[in-house]
């Protein structure tokens, strides 16, 4: 069965304290792994798509990497405005399967 598991469920960091969020997946024939950011009361906001092991993408303080079994979202020197829930998802046929997300809180 296709699954997406994110860890940790929640993470509190001091401003400037770098860390990584994990997304483990099992899917038949990966056709895209997605990272989204979701703020309270809003819909998910697209961040990255990764397609093959070894691929990396960056945006400001965020960098996403992909292996054959997992993806990491690295956050470098985070700021309070990076506080949000980060969702990982994989494509299965015409639909996207989401994990439960990691709630990230950056303390000033």
């Amino acid at each position: 069965e296709d699954q997406v598991t994110q860890s940790p469920e929640a993470l509190r960091l001091q401003e400037g304290e770098s860390s990584s969020l994990n997304c483990s997946y099992t899917v038949s024939g990966l056709r895209g792994l997605f990272w989204y950011r979701q703020d309270p009361g809003k819909g998910p906001e697209f961040l990255f798509t990764l397609y093959s092991a070894g691929e990396e993408k960056e945006k400001e303080r965020l960098k996403a990497t992909l292996t054959k079994k997992e993806s990491f979202l690295h956050i470098t020197a985070p700021k309070p405005e990076d506080s949000a829930t980060y969702l990982c998802a994989v494509r299965r046929d015409d639909k996207i399967i989401f994990g439960k997300g990691t709630r990230l809180h950056i303390l000033p």
Partner: protein, 117 residues
């Protein structure tokens, strides 16, 4: 440009009432998706349209849930005889390409929070 919009943003219904939730996708987007998001969970797929055709409705939880996109643009998700377990945020997403396309990126609306009393 304008993103995906949804209305109403909040809906309170008494158990047993019917509700209709609207989604306006990004203009020109071929694909439209509906998701249900319970508190503290990730979005869960409900149904998918390519233009006006509903190609996948495997995620609809019961026959009380019905979705349509008659002209290939605006979509409506209807829930009949609402139950308390229907309380959730209903998200709509659209993408430029047909679902499953390699370059398909889904863009989400703000969601409708449904509370069934």
């Amino acid at each position: 440009g304008a993103g995906v919009s949804q209305s109403p943003r909040y809906k309170v219904a008494k158990r047993g009432q019917d509700v209709a939730l609207r989604c306006d996708p990004i203009s020109g987007h071929v694909s439209l998706f509906w998701y249900q998001q319970a508190l503290g969970q990730g979005p869960e797929f409900l149904t998918y349209f390519q233009n006006e055709a509903q190609l996948d409705k495997s995620g609809l939880p019961s026959d009380r849930f019905f979705a349509e996109r008659p002209e290939g643009s605006v979509s409506t998700l209807k829930i009949q005889r609402t139950q308390q377990e229907d309380s959730a945020v209903y998200l709509c997403a659209s993408s430029l390409y047909p679902g499953g396309a390699r370059t398909d990126t889904q863009y989400f609306g703000p969601g409708t929070r449904l509370t069934v009393l």
